[in-house]
Structures are given as structure tokens and as C-alpha cells.
Amino acid sequence: MTAGGDLPAGRDLPEAQPLLRISDLTVRFGPVRAVNGVSLAVAAGPFGLGLVGESGSGKSTIGRTILRLVRSSGGSITFAGSDVGSLRGAALKAYRRDVQIVFQDPDNSLDPRMRIGATIGEVLRAHHVVPRGAITERVGALIAEAGLDPEFAQRYPHQMSGGQRQRVAIARALSVQPRLLVLDEPTSALDVRSQAQILKLIARLRSEHNLSYLLITHNFGVVSELCEQTAVLYLGKIAEIGTTHVLLRAPAHPYTVALRSAVPEVTVAGRRSRIVLPGDPPDATSPPSGCVFHTRCPLAVARCRTEVPLLREAGPAHQVACHRAEDVLAGAEMPTHRRPAAVERREASASELP
């Protein structure tokens, strides 16, 4: 798939004044620190920041906190220079227009009893985007821009496929001409063909609208084509952050290596041995001491159990929170899952092909 093939070359780092800056963000739910001291920046568009991690890593909580759907417990979020937490009245309403979110499951974000046209029209009306008389026409244009027939305005969500519903959710988010989109697992509920189409749509809209977005996903394959920068999260903390191609080619954190190796690949050449992470992610109510990843890390040493690794430079535009980053970069061996005989057989026969 080449969704991002014609994108302009990305910049390495957000410039001095990013559109969105998250500093030392902490979000607590009772005893759980879902987000624990995360700092990120999103440049003005076109720019994509990927947030990658497993369930429970805090990636969706960060997205929701940006939208003020969840309250932060510490740290700050600034958008275009102003503090998001202290926005009130008209400024808050303007912010709610500037920043939009697309959720994983369009079934839960579209009202089943409203026609698509009414769903999108409601947003246009609430934010006075166009004069009343022009709403129908604009709705048609937005639906067409999302790659659907304008006739779909007459349909109900249940009369559409999952991919089509997600296009509607994107059209609705774009209807108010936002400056920042939070895309929370926008393709995880779709089959790969619809996923490819949605990723292509995001790539197209990104250049047409100079969009900035935060793309939240558990799948490295999704960020690789759409995000200049990627942050890998584990248990509410940033494990590694840098330009996406650096994280893919020369990851410095063992967790990044493992996440990358878990992405299934079609070609035998693309497939690499999967790094085995023993056990399940730890209980978030009592995170491990030292490095939170040490309980599953194949490279953990005594120091990792006691000393919290800080984010530090691993290279240009590349930071990592790991005591053993140098060893990872030098290609330290990690235990891999044994390739079963049948697969080896298949690989052998594949290589015999002309």
C-alpha cells in the first residue's frame, strides 16, 4: 500500500512554536496513573504524530485529554500558545471547533436515528460554519470529499458499511475546518481493504487541508505511512520518540523492537523473527519499580529494577528511556519465537519460485 507515497517529505522535528504542546502530562483514574509525565509536540500541518502502544498504554487517554473529555491531573496542554485547561466560554467553543476527534468505532459515534446529512448538518449549524441556506450544499460537498456519493446524506448509519461510516465520521470532523485532528484507532475496526482506503483518504486530506493530526494506534504499520514522528508508549510513559523512519529502522528501545516485530508481513523477506515478551502488561495500579518495562524486558539488568530511566538522546531527533539503548542500537540479541517447521518448509518452497 502506498497511501503516503506522494506526501511531501516530512520535517524532522516540530519547529519552535508547535501547534499543540503537551508538557509533563499526568492523568490519574483513582489509583491508576494512566498517563505519567508525557511531553509531546505537534507541529502545524501538514504533520502527523503517531502514538503507538498496547491497550492500557495511555494513548487514548492522551487523545481524550487533549479534547478535554478527560481532566488532567498534572502538567499542561497548550494549543496555538494558549493553555487548554483554562479556556472558557467563547475561547473554549473556538477550541472545540479547532480540535476534532475521530473514534475507532463509528457505530458508537454516529446517532443511529439520524440521517447522515442531519448528523453533519448539526455540526455546521452549531458552529455557524456556513449560512443556514447553504448547509445542504456544504453537507453534500463534505460527503463527496470523504469519497462517498452525496446521495449518502439520505442514509442512516445502518445502511452503510463500517468503512463508509468511518468516512462520515471523518467528514463530520472536517466540517468545521479543524486545525488538529485526533484519530483514535480510526481503522482498527475495519478490514484491511477499508483500512487502506481510509489511510489514503487521510493522506489526501492532510495535504489538501494542511492538517495536523495525532494518530493513535497499536499497529506500527499504520503510522509508518502517515506520521513524520512517532512516540511509543508503555504503561503511561514514553518509551521512545523520534522520526518514524528512525524508529522503524533503528529502534533504541527493546519494546519498540518487539512492537515492530509483531506486525504481520506478507513477504518472507519482510517477516522477521518475533521478539517474545514474557507475561502480560503489569497491573497499572501497582506499576513495577525502576523501568516500568523491566518485568517483560528481555534485556533487563539489575539497574533496570531500581533506577527509572529518563528520556535521553539516542541520536538526532530521537529520544529513548532505556538504560540499555546503546546495546539495542548495537543489535543486542533478544529471544525470538521459534519458527515452526511448517513455516520453514513454506519459506523454502517460496524461495524456489522463479
Partner: protein, 260 residues
């Protein structure tokens, strides 16, 4: 995998009223083979699973044609005979393991109950359930938990443990990893591979994702609009697809090559 195979489908037609949704001329699953059935939503792959389980009528579909298990025609069997086969010899796991478990029962109860239904004594059922949990790399202690207290990956493992406990010979796996994180998906794929190796389970693996099929399956059949458009060894089909639709599905798989 030549010969008749363990599970054989021929001339299978599934329809809702006058609308035909599946028409499969020939599909065979061999002993200890993993066969991928790939296609998009609506291609008929899940209806095929239901037909094999003899459950297509429960969603209002009518089925004709032949489905055999070791040569025995399943379509001709009365429902109570079919019930003995279903679960015991042919087990199924689905995309959402959360909806497959009754939320008010501890997961261990679900497993032991199924074993009791298929004839195990009370103490045997408990032992076999614990052993099956270990085989899918879960602690038997988790059997005391309710479905809501387990992660999606753990629940999917319990569903597989149920198939293992019943010594199912054939596992129908309908998008079992589509709702899981890629890391957990990789673990479940490892587990399915290991079960094929250790107990010789035959697996019909249904997925929309050809990358997952490539990682796991020996052979693949690609389905579109209810028809199999191409089938063959996974290495051949995925390296050199003969049908344009297969090529299109392959194109859709995200890669780790970053153009940015």
C-alpha cells in the same frame, strides 16, 4: 495435503431466500493443516463457518450441498448428533471472545460445563480444564475469574482452551485476532501454530488480513462475493496471485516502509 481431507466441502450453496450468498465448489482441510479463508466483510466467509457448524439456519439461511467430516456427511445428521460433533470434534472461536462468554459465569465454569456436557466426570472435568489452561499458557487460577476480569487476549486463549479441553480435531477460527493488539495477535498466532504441531489440530482460519494469513497458513482460499476466486499454497498465492482481487487485498496490507 491431498486426498479427501478431514473436512470436505463440495457444492455448498448458502442463500437467504432467493439471494445466494455463498457458492463453494470444493474446499478441503487436511489433517494438521492450517487453511486460510480470506476475504472482505460480506464475502461469505463467516456464513461458511456457520454452515460447517450446522448453524446457518439459526440466522435464516438455507444450505445445500455436502459438508463431510472424515467422509461422514454432516448435513444429513439430526441436530442432536450434530451437537455431539459440534464442540467435541469441531470447535469454533470468534472475533469477539467477550460476547462468546456468558458474563455471569466464571470462565472456568464455562469450560468445565462444556466438558461435563460431553461426558466427563466432575473431577475429570476440573483436571482437564486446568490442563487445557496450561496448554494455552494461562494460569489455571484465571478460571475463577469472570469474563470482564480478563483481557481480550486472555479470553481468546480461554476460548481456545475450551477447544483443547474437548480435544477438538478441527478448529474454525473466525477472525480470532482482528480485535486484538498486534502483540497479542502474534501470541495467539503462535499458540495456534503450536496446537497444530502438538496435537495435530486442523484449523480453518478466517481473516481479512493476508499478512496474518501469510504468517500462519499452509494454504489459502480467497473469497469474494461468496465465491472462491483463487486457492492454493499460501506461498504461491501470496507471492504470485493469479486473481486481481487477491492482488488488491495484498496491496491493502500496511507495510513498515516509511515514505515520510
Amino acid at each position: 495435503m491431498t486426498g479427501t481431507g478431514r473436512l470436505g466441502i463440495s457444492g455448498l450453496q448458502i442463500s437467504f431466500g432467493s439471494r445466494q450468498v455463498v457458492s463453494i465448489e470444493e474446499l478441503r482441510l487436511g489433517h494438521a493443516e492450517i487453511l486460510g479463508l480470506a476475504g472482505e466483510s460480506g464475502s461469505g466467509k463467516s456464513m461458511t463457518t456457520l454452515a460447517i457448524l450446522g448453524l446457518a439456519h439459526t440466522v435464516g439461511a438455507s444450505v445445500s450441498g455436502s459438508i463431510t467430516l472424515d467422509g461422514q456427511e454432516l448435513a444429513a445428521l439430526p441436530q442432536e448428533r450434530l451437537r455431539e460433533i459440534r464442540g467435541r470434534r469441531i470447535a469454533a472461536i470468534f472475533q469477539s471472545s467477550a460476547t462468546a462468554f456468558n458474563p455471569v459465569y466464571r470462565v472456568g465454569t464455562v469450560v468445565t460445563k462444556a466438558l461435563r456436557l460431553h461426558g466427563a466426570s466432575k473431577s475429570d472435568a476440573a483436571d482437564q480444564a486446568a490442563e487445557a489452561m496450561r496448554q494455552v499458557l494461562l494460569s489455571p487460577d484465571l478460571m475463577r475469574r469472570y469474563p470482564s476480569q480478563l483481557s481480550g487476549g486472555q479470553l481468546q486463549r480461554v476460548a481456545i482452551a475450551l477447544a483443547v479441553a474437548l480435544r477438538a480435531e478441527i478448529l474454525l477460527a473466525d477472525e480470532p485476532t482482528s480485535a486484538l493488539d498486534v502483540t497479542v495477535q502474534a501470541e495467539v498466532l503462535d499458540l495456534l501454530r503450536d496446537l497444530r504441531e502438538s496435537v495435530g489440530m486442523s484449523i480453518l482460519f478466517i481473516s481479512h488480513d493476508l499478512a496474518v494469513v501469510a504468517e500462519l497458513c499452509d494454504r489459502v482460499a480467497v473469497m469474494r462475493h461468496g465465491l472462491i476466486v483463487e486457492q492454493g499454497p499460501a506461498s504461491r498465492v501470496l507471492a504470485a496471485p493469479a486473481h486481481p482481487y487477491t492482488a488488491e487485498l495484498l496491496e491493502s496490507v500496511p507495510t513498515l516502509a516509511s515514505p515520510l
